[in-house]
Amino acid sequence: MYMKGLAGNAKDGLYFDDLSFAFTAAHELKAPLALIRQLALSLEDGTGDANDKERMLRQITLTAERSLRLTENLTRSARLDDSLFTLEPLNPQQLLEEVAHEFTPLYKAKDREIRVSSRFRPMLVVANRDLLHRILANFTDNALHYSGDTMPVELYAGKRESGARVRVGVRDYGPAVPSKLWKNLEANLGKTRQALHMRPQSSGLGLFVAGRFADAMNGTIGAVRHRDGATFYVDMDASRQMTLL
């Protein structure tokens, strides 16, 4: 199995071959599994009071769910070329609400807040519901790790390029990304049609998978650096459904 990178080919951007993909996937799963194991061992040892135990059990559940999301994305990504999927007009606002609702327990458990920027008239995008949901879930999970605890993570949708494209993104407020890392990103952006950004400590696997999902729907993922955080987005074709009426 050869898996193309976000940039579309190995020469221009980051890519994973079979071996590095397997290695990176294993490494990504190591951290949550190690956490689950530590919590389970502590429960076995009887560490903590009743509140601690309840909290540890909740953390085990949420960490396991997070890991399962990654494994499901990897499986879906590996079978992307073989599968048929439907592209349909979707309301991104509704999808963002679903993602926010899904992540609220995890955010709450981490004392973080998530919200959807409301729009009066949301534009429809042409996308596969499952794949776009997975992309946004990936960005939302990523934002949780890097956002500070004082500002909520914002999910939003907005028009691009005279209405032909719609940008659906996740904005976090956290430490600024070091400029050296961002220069690497900009160098990639200059050469490639897909945008890739990796944070410190990130293997980039989640974004790699998100990029594959976006590519399959004629979408483009990218990132914008802010003084106080970053936005990860996917640009999708806007539905022309309304113009046909």
């Binding site: 190591k30 530590q38 919590l39 903590g48 981490k110 944070r199």
Partner: protein, 123 residues
């Protein structure tokens, strides 16, 4: 007798919380920060008796932090326990120069191993 104090530098807040809970259950006071810059502030003000450090952190990595600590005579002797998912990468490395006393693997250690490692290096 003064209760020993350990600073945990770990960007996974639930894992940091777990370490702190384990250490406190063993009578060791502990607090946690998520990156090296915050760690330096706490080390400066609270002078921990030992450090538990993850290796991969957002921003400056732990070796930058350790260089910084070693450059201050009043902090240079603080013992360090590395707690990492990549413990195999440090086999055979000369870690003593950084004040690293023990390397624990997050994937194989028992919570009690951290307590034992800390107690071994406390004055």
């Amino acid at each position: 007798m003064k209760q020993p104090y350990v600073l945990i530098v770990e960007d996974d807040d639930w894992l940091a919380e777990q370490y702190a809970r384990t250490l406190e259950a063993a009578g060791i006071q502990a607090s946690a920060v998520g990156h090296a810059l915050a760690a330096m502030d706490v080390i400066d003000t609270k002078k921990p008796d030992a450090l538990v450090l993850d290796v991969l952190l957002p921003g400056p990595n732990i070796f930058t932090l350790l260089h910084e600590i070693r450059s201050h005579s009043d902090l240079a002797a603080i013992p360090v326990i590395l707690c990492t998912n990549s413990a195999d990468k440090f086999v055979g490395e000369d870690l003593a120069a950084y004040g690293i006393k023990t390397v624990l693997s997050k994937t194989t250690m028992h919570p009690g191993d951290m307590v034992a490692a800390i107690k071994k290096v406390l004055p």
